[in-house]
C-alpha cells in the first residue's frame, strides 16, 4: 500500500512532533488550546488568539441533556453500556448544519459577503443586507440567528467583548452584527446565537469555514463525556420512554395477491 502522507504529526522511536513542535514542549510550555490552534492553523496562537479560542471552546462545551447531541449520546448509552466511545460518537453524529454546525454556513456567508465587497464594491453592511434579502426571497432560514430556548444567548456578547479586548474583532463580527440588524429590519428581531458568534470569532481568528464544525465538536465532546458519565452513574439502562402516536394504516391482513405473487 502507498504510504499515507501528513504534515500534521511526525513521530520516531522516542519523539512526537506536532507541526514540528515537540509534544513534550507543548505539554510543558503551551497547552491544549494552543495545540488545537496549532493543529488547525500550523502555528501557535498569540495571547489574544488563545484566549478567544479558549472562550469559544468553553461556550461550546455543554448546553444540558436536552441538546440533540447530548440527548443522542444519552439515548445510545441507555441501550449500549459496553463502550463509552459508542455513546460519545452517537452524540457527535447529531452535530450537523442544523445543530452546532450552522457556524460553517455563517462563515461561508461572511466569506462570500467579503468577496462580493472586494469584487463589486459597496459596504459589508450592504452585503449582509443582500444575504438577508436572498434568504427571505428563497425562504431559507438564516444561519447564526435565533435560538429555540434563549431570547438572548449570553455567550454572544461575552465572545464579542473578549474579541474587542484582545484586539481581534474584525470583519467577522461586523458582518454578523450587520446580518442581525438587517434580519431585524427585514424579517423580525432575532438574537445572534452561539453558532453565529462562533463563526464571527473564528473568521476573525483566520479559520476557514469548515473549522466551525471542527471547533464546535472539540468543545462539545467535553460536554458529551460529562453527559454520558452522568447517565452511567445516575440512570438505569433502557430508562427512556418516548411517547409515540401511530397515524398510519389500520391493522390489516396480508394481501393474498402479493403472497401468491411471492411464490415465484
Amino acid at each position: 500500500m502507498e504510504s499515507w502522507r501528513t504534515a500534521v504529526v511526525n513521530a520516531d522511536d522516542t519523539h512526537i512532533w506536532v507541526h514540528g513542535y515537540d509534544v513534550t514542549d507543548l505539554m510543558r510550555q503551551a497547552g491544549f488550546v494552543e495545540t488545537v490552534f496549532l493543529l488547525h492553523r500550523g502555528r501557535l496562537p498569540n495571547a489574544g488568539e488563545r484566549k478567544l479560542l479558549d472562550a469559544v471552546l468553553v461556550g461550546s462545551a455543554d448546553h444540558g441533556p436536552g441538546a440533540p447531541s447530548c440527548a443522542t449520546a444519552r439515548l445510545a448509552a441507555s441501550g449500549n453500556r459496553q463502550s463509552v466511545s459508542a455513546a460519545i460518537a452517537a452524540g457527535v453524529l447529531a452535530i450537523g448544519d442544523e445543530h452546532g454546525g450552522a457556524g460553517e454556513l455563517c462563515m461561508q456567508l461572511v466569506v462570500d459577503g467579503l468577496a462580493a465587497v472586494a469584487a463589486s464594491g459597496g459596504t459589508l453592511e450592504e452585503a449582509a443586507r443582500r444575504a438577508v434579502e436572498d434568504a427571505r426571497r428563497e425562504g431559507r432560514r438564516l444561519p447564526g440567528i435565533g435560538h429555540r430556548s434563549h431570547t438572548t444567548d449570553p455567550r454572544v456578547a461575552t465572545l464579542f467583548d473578549l474579541a474587542r479586548e484582545a484586539g481581534i474583532a474584525g470583519d467577522g463580527i461586523r458582518f454578523m452584527r450587520a446580518l442581525e440588524a438587517s434580519a431585524a429590519a427585514l424579517i423580525k428581531p432575532l438574537p445572534l446565537n452561539i453558532d453565529g458568534a462562533l463563526a464571527a470569532i473564528l473568521h476573525d481568528l483566520g479559520f476557514p469555514p469548515r473549522a466551525a464544525k471542527f471547533i464546535f465538536i472539540i468543545g462539545r465532546v467535553a460536554g458529551l463525556t460529562a453527559e454520558v458519565a452522568e447517565e452511567y452513574a445516575r440512570e438505569k439502562p433502557m430508562r427512556i420512554k418516548i411517547p409515540v402516536t401511530y397515524d398510519g394504516p389500520a391493522a390489516r391482513p396480508l394481501p393474498p395477491q402479493d403472497r401468491k405473487g411471492k411464490q415465484d
Copy 2:
C-alpha cells in the same frame, strides 16, 4: 503494509465470490437471507434454516420510534441532515447488551448450561434452574426475559412454532423455555422476549453467541432506514425538545481561590 487476509469475499477484475460462490449466482438463484447465513456460517442454509433466519430478521426489523435504536437515529437526524449514514450509525450505536443485544448473553447461558450438563450430568432444565438461581443470588437481571412494553411478545411463539415446523427446535428453545419456567417459579412470571427467542433459534441454527448481535443489527438496520426516512420526510430539524430538570448546585460565583491558583 502487510496484506489483510480474508476468507469471506474474493474479487478479481470481473468476478466477486462470497465464500467461493459467485455473487451473480447468489443474486440469481439464492437471495439476501441465504447470503446472510452464508456470510456467517460459510455454507448455504437448507429451506428450514433459511425460513427461520428470515423470520428472525423480520422480527428484529422495527419496533417503532420509541425503541432506543430508532429514537437515537431520529435524534441524530434531527441535528444532522447531511448524511443518512450518520443517523443510521447513531441508531446502531444504541444496540448493546441492554437493547437488542441481550441475545448474546442468552446464547452464552445456553452454551454454558449445555457445557455444565456435558461435564457434570443432570438435565438442561436443572442447568436453567441453576442459571436463574445464580442470577437471583447475585442480583443480576436475567437476559431474554421480560419486556418493558409487552406482556406477551407475539414474535416469540411464532418463532418457536416455525422452528418446530422446520424441524429445527432443539436445545436452545428447550433451555430458554426452561429458563422462563424457572424464573416464573423462583422470581416472578415474565415472558420470554425477542432477545431470548432470537437466541434460542440462533443457537439451534448453529450460530455462536456473538452472532446474536450481528443478526439483530442486520434486521434492525432495515427499520432504522425507515425511521430515518420518515424523520426526513415528515419532521423539521431540531423539532425534539426533551424536558429536563436540573438538580445540581445553585448558581454561584467563581471561587477566588481557584482563579488565583489558575494564574500560575
Copy 3:
C-alpha cells in the same frame, strides 16, 4: 414532551404491526426482503419486485475487506472490542456519495432527466447526453460509472437481466445505459458500476433517490457483520500498521514570542 408520530410501526401490549400488517404474519408468510420493501414503500412487493430488491441487497452485501466501509469497520474493531455495534457503525459512516451512495446521485440524474423530457420534449437518450455534457463541462465525475477494481462489474448485467425477466426494466435502466453510451462517446468507455445499476433498478421499482443509500446500507451491513466477525476471530487487536510519510515542518523549538504572549 410532545408525542412523536409515526406511520411505520404500531405496537400494543401483545401485537406489533408494520404499516398495518401483523409482524407475525410477515414472519410466517412473507420475509425480510418483503419487509424492507414494505418499510420504504408502504405496501408489499409482487414477486418480480421482491426478486429484484433481493438481488440488489445481495449485490450490495460485501466487496471484501478493502472496501472503505469494510476497512473502516475492521480498523475500529482493531482498537475497540467492547462493542460490535461500534465497529459496524464505523463501517456505515464510511458510506456516502463517494462510496456506496452514488446511487442517490444517479437516481436524481434519472429523475431530472425525465423531468426535462416531460417539460421540454426530446428523448431520454438526449437527456442522458446532456447530463454527460454538463458533467464534462463542469469537470464533475459522473456517478454510477467506472470502478476502481472492475473493468466489468458482474452485478450490473445480472441485475438488468433479472429486471427484464421480471418485466420491471424501465426508464431507470434505459437512462443509465444511455448515460454509459454517451460517456463512452464523449469522455471514455467506462462500465456502469453497482451504484449505477442499483439506481436504475430502484428507480424502476418506484423508490425515491434517497432510498439508494438506505438500500445499499441494509445490504452492506450484512457484509460488515461478517467482516467484523472475521476480524474478531482471526486477528489480534492493534494489528494494523498504516505506513505514513511526514512532509510537514521540520522539528523546531517553541517560539519565545508566542510563549510570552501566552502568559497573559
Copy 4:
C-alpha cells in the same frame, strides 16, 4: 415523558450554568481545561491540577494518521464527505480498551491494588508485583506497558515530572512505576506508555477509572479534527487501497441440494 434530570448544566432564557458557574464567567475568567475538570469533578481545579490535566490532553491529542482512531476517521472521510461529524465519530469508535482506553484498565489496577493494601496490608509495590504475577499466570497483557512504535514514550517522563513539580504525584504514579519495575523483573523490560501515564496522573488527580477514556477522547478528538481536515484538503475520496489476500474456499458452483431446499 418523564423529565430527564441532570446536575451538570442548567439554562434559562438568558443564562447557562455549568455545575452552578455562569458559563460567561467560565469563558472570561477560566478556560476549557478548567471546564473539562469541572464537568467531571464538579469543582474547579487549582493551578497544579489544571496544568496536569492540560498536559494530559495535549499528550492525547494526536499520534499521526497511523493511529487506529486517526486512520479510521480518514477512511470514513474517504467514502463519506457529506458530514465531518461522521468521520470524527468513526475515529472515536476505534477507541476502546485496546487503543487509547487502556488507561481505564490501569486505573482499575491501581484502585484494586490500593484496596488490597488497605484490606490486607503490605506495600503498594507488593500489590503491583501481584498484579504482574496474575497477568503472567493468566496470560493477559498488562495494560499501560509497552508501545508498538516507541521504545520510550516521551510523554511519560514529562507527565510524571510535571506531577512532581505540581505536588500532585501520588499513589497512581507510584503504583504504575512499580508495575513497570515488576514487569521488567518478571516478564521483560517494557516502558510505560501514555495510557499508563495518563492513568497514573488521573488517579492522582482524583478521577475515577472510567474517566481515563473520557479524557483521552476529549484530547484525541482535537487530533481527529485535524486529521479529517487534512484528508479533505489534500486527498481525493476513495484514494485508499488496502492490499487483501483471500484464503477462503475456491470458486464453486451453488450446491443443487440447497437450491432445491430453498424452494419451500
